[in-house]
Subunit: 301 residues, 2 copies
């Protein structure tokens, strides 16, 4: 799957992933009214809005963007109905040809991580395997060390899927723990060393491992150091746009062939219609396409 | 809610939480057959098994155990149907008088953590607040630092709920990251310092903060050091029993009044019927009760 992701990025000449992180605030008024009228002011109504919103955006960018990254928290906030919209979004995304990165940041002790690994490895019931989540990659949290990660790595290898391990996150306080020095080396580079070790037996054909890393665009120096430490690790780069990350900084995270990263934008694309007077509410998907094209140009420089 | 938890433990003289972490393997054969016959070999069938299994166990221990802790991964493994069983388990647990600790270990950047905080803070739709997850406490991951934690703390304070922040986990490789020394102080104690800081304005009436910590029973020395660092922090202690943690070790984590901890057992209680020939399959709930009573005696010494 890491090879499929890289090839899809190459084919579209676009290292962009669209973050499908809907909020009630960003849903166009007419869509809100339609669903509240049909389903009442309920989580089910919100789930239907999210699904309609995501579907229109995916259709608007599917020929130019290789991957989508729904952030499960924005669906989990609306309970089971919300999570059903997450699952349907992922299934639809696959149908439309996207690589699906489930941003779930799960992490736990070994036996529990093995349960979470169903996200990419599938779930067996009486000899039959169900793919219940439709994700190609997921994000995972390294705080518990290798036995919380190994079940995910095993699932990656068995099902040819991938994981992105949090190394250096994009948020302002990421340094509170991640930048602390251990024998002169910051925690995030210690985690980078672990990621390298965890991924060394999971290499794809194009020089990158199925065990990938999350490295935020908002901390470019740390990102560059992570790249030096991880020459064979593919990066998911959040923090571009709304969070402040800039294209010229991110360019330093790519390898000499211009590969090695996929850059996420969520609000900057899916809520683009709210940023300019030239768009009406009904133009939200067209605005997302325009924003995705602008991002591609910005990234490729 | 931290006061309610402590009072409930005091009233029952039992600092035990039962981990409701069902697997297909531990479901009694007759229950499996019944649900597979009704719903086919599907996730829906498994969800119904889990719900019937959890309900019987909860009914068997509700007069002696103050709290339950469903681990969401074991439900998420079975997709939306599984998660619906998690949500129903939590709702039933509340009805039966348990304090509900949702073991979800979520953690993300600020805006995303705010979405996850719906687990305890509720979800607002057009001015109405929905409690969609029925949890009183949740577990959270500190790897992203304060801006990933603050939305949870705010939700705790607004809704009088609680969080357990991972400090020192019970798994064998927890030390890979958590024991690394930063200026001579291990990462887990650095996290303990942060937990203390994050929780200082969230104190309950009984001397403990709503911002609590996870400290594994399997690392007793580290647990004792965490207790020294965190005199006003309530501990959720996993790792007792099946994972190897012992009562005499855990006793050192309690305060001088015998308060300050709740100790989890999952498989050791809910799958107790499989450990002794004196139980048949249909005795699974009675076996869980016996195991819970034995654990209480063991812990109180």
């Amino acid at each position: 799957m890491i090879d499929a992701l890289i090839r899809r990025i190459d084919a579209l000449k676009n290292p962009t992933v669209v973050g499908l992180d809907p909020t009630l605030e960003m849903i166009p008024g007419y869509l809100k009214e339609e669903m509240f009228a049909k389903y009442g002011k309920t989580p089910e109504a919100v789930a239907e809005m999210f699904l309609a919103f995501n579907t229109a955006i995916m259709d608007a960018v599917k020929d130019i963007v290789p991957a989508v990254k729904p952030q499960i928290a924005f669906y989990e906030r609306f309970g089971i109905a919300g999570l059903a919209a997450y699952e349907k979004t992922a299934a639809l995304a696959k149908e439309k040809g996207f690589i699906v990165i489930g941003d779930i940041k799960r992490g736990d002790i070994g036996s529990t991580a093995a349960a979470y690994a169903a996200h990419i490895g599938g779930t067996e019931i009486e000899g039959e395997t169900f793919d219940l989540w439709h994700e190609d990659f997921i994000t995972v949290n390294p705080y518990l060390g290798v036995d919380g990660i190994k079940p995910f790595v095993d699932a990656c290898n068995a099902a040819d899927k991938g994981i992105f391990v949090l190394v250096k996150t994009s948020n302002p306080s990421s340094g509170e723990l991640q930048d602390k020095l251990v024998d002169g080396r910051p925690v995030y580079l210690r985690v980078a060393d672990l990621v390298s070790e965890w991924g060394k037996d999971s290499m794809g054909e194009l020089g990158y491992s199925r065990v990938c890393a999350v490295v935020g665009a908002t901390h470019p120096e740390e990102g560059e150091r992570a790249r030096e430490a991880l020459p064979h690790t593919f990066f998911l780069v959040p923090g571009y746009g709304a969070q402040g990350g800039k294209a010229e900084d991110i360019r330093r995270f790519f390898d000499k062939d211009g590969r090695g990263c996929i850059v996420n934008s969520s609000r900057g694309i899916i809520a683009a219609y709210r940023k300019s007077e030239k768009y009406g509410e009904k133009d939200f998907a067209a605005a997302a396409r325009d924003a995705a094209i602008a991002m591609q140009k910005d990234l490729l420089g």
